[in-house]
């Protein structure tokens, strides 16, 4: 028999990296930034965090450094898209490729060494898992109940109107990109510091892309991101548990389920846009478009 509580505990830690990365990307996308560089920022965080945790012996310093490193590498994307107004999709892909290569190069000295052990938080659940869960209501509150959150959404929905009202579009977006980078960095570091305890090249193995899918699945809401992360993480954990318990299930079907769910959500969103006047739940209006004040 499979004990649901143990599945839930596994699900919590399995979904943490993608939860962090997706929450960060959510903020960026709500500000109108489509940053496909999540994978690159995650791997940067995974390496920088691991290196710092290894050097200092303190995993929490590792996570702090991971956040800073993720934010730092996202600056590159900021310069490309906010200063030189480069295409966001191409810049994001470049950031992913660059991050993967950079981390592989600087990671060589850290191969084969082990991270310091991570102390458990309350209920035997990792502190960073708790932090991730806490970030969900915080981000919901920020987006819906604070002035800065509303400005950020205004910038994402219609940057020209926001600009006309006197809000600094580029500054808002720069901050949103940096936040996204920091969150992706923490998510990546969770894999290297808390899950695998070692640095290996390419260790994020596509988690950044799943995070991007989750943001779409969530229809750009914080609790939707949590649901998406749990769905993706939960299906992974559940199908492995079912296998270990020798329950005969088609593994391929289960692995496919989250992607199928994403497609269904996308269809539902576009149906709602077509058949109802309400704009809620749709993508931010200026998503993926660059802004220039003189245009």
């Amino acid at each position: 028999m499979i004990d649901p509580l143990s599945v839930f505990l596994l699900l919590l830690s399995a979904s943490t990296p993608i939860l962090f990365a997706a929450l960060g990307e959510l903020i960026a996308e709500r500000a109108g930034i489509l940053n496909l560089g999540v994978e690159g920022m995650m791997i940067t965080g995974a390496l920088a965090g691991f290196a710092a945790a290894y050097a200092t012996g303190n995993p929490f310093i590792g996570f702090l450094v991971a956040a800073l490193a993720g934010a730092a590498i996202s600056l590159l994307y900021t310069v490309l898209t906010q200063v030189f107004l480069a295409n966001q999709v191409a810049s994001g892909l470049a950031l992913t490729l660059f991050g993967l290569g950079l981390a592989a190069m600087f990671g060589k000295p850290f191969e084969g060494v082990k991270a310091p052990p991570m102390p458990d938080g309350p209920f035997g659940i990792n502190w960073i898992v708790w932090l991730g869960l806490l970030m969900v209501p915080v981000i919901w509150w920020f987006l819906n109940r604070t002035r800065r959150g509303l400005i950020l959404r205004a910038v994402g929905e219609n940057h020209e109107a926001a600009h006309a009202l006197g809000y600094d579009v580029r500054l808002t977006r720069t901050a949103a990109i940096a936040f996204g980078g920091a969150m992706a960095g923490i998510g990546g570091a969770f894999i290297s510091i808390a899950t695998v305890l070692q640095w290996t090249e390419g260790m994020t193995a596509g988690a950044g892309w799943i995070a991007l899918a989750i943001v779409v699945f969530s229809s750009w809401t914080a609790f939707g991101v949590l649901a998406g992360a749990w769905l993706f993480g939960g299906v992974t954990v559940l199908q492995l548990r079912l296998q270990a318990a020798e329950v005969d299930v088609p593994v391929q079907l289960l692995s496919m389920a989250p992607y199928l769910a994403t497609i269904i959500v996308l269809v539902l969103i576009s149906a709602r846009q077509t058949y109802s006047r309400k704009a809620g739940g749709a993508a931010p209006g200026s998503l993926g478009n660059n802004f220039h004040a003189l245009r």
């Binding site: 596994l10 084969g112 290996t200 390419g202 492995l240 296998q243 593994v251 391929q252």
Partner: protein, 358 residues
């Protein structure tokens, strides 16, 4: 004659004169495609070590290049074509999933020789090579059978292909031999290298009460999870020494250098021929890493004795009587498994209750 054409024709003549002379000195170009990054600390790392051993052995006479992290599938064909067009005369494709791409590209470049790891399709210019990993699995299975307290051992499989199924069967048979109560749980990760997923797979096994984890995936993530839970595991493909003395109590190391050096040498003196190589502990291609003190001395001695017996060719890990999981007879008393049975192995042996996904 214009100066430009004069220069062009002069250089063309020089080139033509130079080519025969250079053919002697020009190094043999050898290409490699890897399925993972060279820094994976496992499978690909070991292949790259062997590539470096080839360079060290032949020095200026060879020139090697590699392309890492090549996905199995259509992209592999592109990478292979690229290597062939770049003048590589011998190309090593180091993963099972490169099989059909290798066959396709080899047909287009009859002058280029290909070496495909762990596959079963050969051609005039395509040889295959593999290691008898199941010999090493017999040794780790013996240790696992002795070490488990819950009598449940877990196996993280990558893909349900013969190479992996051999390993599962061999581990189980030898664990069972020393511990008749042992049970084997199998989880398929459907990846050779995905640390996060491998960690989840290990957690799933641990939650089922498993206390010894064997893995046929390439990252150290399962060892990290085993350590957290107080379980043990084994290094896979490379030594994974960072996890000594426990949870990593022993390891199976792939040592490709002897084969790579031999085959490149045959290219250099023109005696290369297609074929299928399948070497094991005896030839030094499968190496058992240090068995640590976390294992009781008598278990260690037993494991090493088994290793030496297999290495000397006195014992075959698949020796009858053995039945298939469905109860039908596979090997009679004293009979050993023919290679053809192993290379197409698609069944578990009797006693393993898990199903092989179809």
């Amino acid at each position: 004659m214009q100066r430009r054409t004069l220069l062009a024709s002069a250089s063309a003549i020089l080139m033509a004169l130079a080519v025969p002379a250079m053919a002697q000195d020009e190094p043999l170009k050898v290409g490699f495609i890897y399925v993972g990054p060279v820094g994976d600390g496992g499978w690909t790392f070991q292949h790259d070590q062997a590539r470096q051993a080839v360079e060290a052995e032949y020095g200026d006479r060879v020139e090697t290049t590699f392309i890492e992290s090549v996905p199995e599938g259509a992209d592999a064909e592109r990478a292979l074509t690229q290597l062939a067009l770049a003048g590589n005369k011998l190309i090593f494709a180091t993963s099972f999933g490169f099989m059909d791409p290798v066959m396709n590209v080899a047909a287009k470049f009859p002058d280029v020789k290909f070496e495909h790891a762990t596959g079963y399709k050969q051609a005039e210019n395509v040889a295959t090579y593999d290691a008898r990993f199941y010999e090493g699995r017999a040794v780790t299975g013996t240790i696992a059978g002795h070490m488990t307290k819950s009598n449940k051992i877990g196996y993280i499989g990558s893909f349900p292909i013969p190479e992996v199924i051999q390993g599962i069967n061999s581990s189980y048979i030898h664990a069972k031999k020393v511990n008749p109560d042992v049970e084997m749980k199998v989880v398929w990760a459907y990846s050779w290298f995905d640390p996060a997923k491998e960690a989840d797979a290990a957690s799933a096994l641990l939650a089922e009460g498993v206390d010894v984890i064997l893995q046929h995936t390439d990252s150290t993530a399962p060892l990290a999870k085993a350590q957290e839970a107080g379980a043990i595991g084994f290094g896979q493909a490379s030594d994974m020494a960072a996890f000594k003395p426990s949870p990593r109590v022993a390891s199976i190391i792939d040592e490709w250098s002897p084969y790579y050096i031999k085959r490149v040498g045959q290219m250099l003196d023109g005696t290369w021929e297609s074929g299928a190589s399948w070497a094991g502990i005896g030839e030094g291609e499968v190496v058992i890493g240090e068995i640590t003190d976390a294992v009781p001395a008598e278990v260690k001695a037993e494991a090493e004795a088994l290793r030496d017996k297999i290495g000397a060719g006195k014992y075959h890990p698949f020796t009858g009587p053995l039945n298939k999981a469905d109860g039908s007879e596979w090997l009679a008393e004293g009979e050993t498994a023919p290679d053809s049975d192993l290379q197409s192995m698609n069944f578990f042996v009797e006693g393993i209750t898990a199903q092989i996904p179809q």
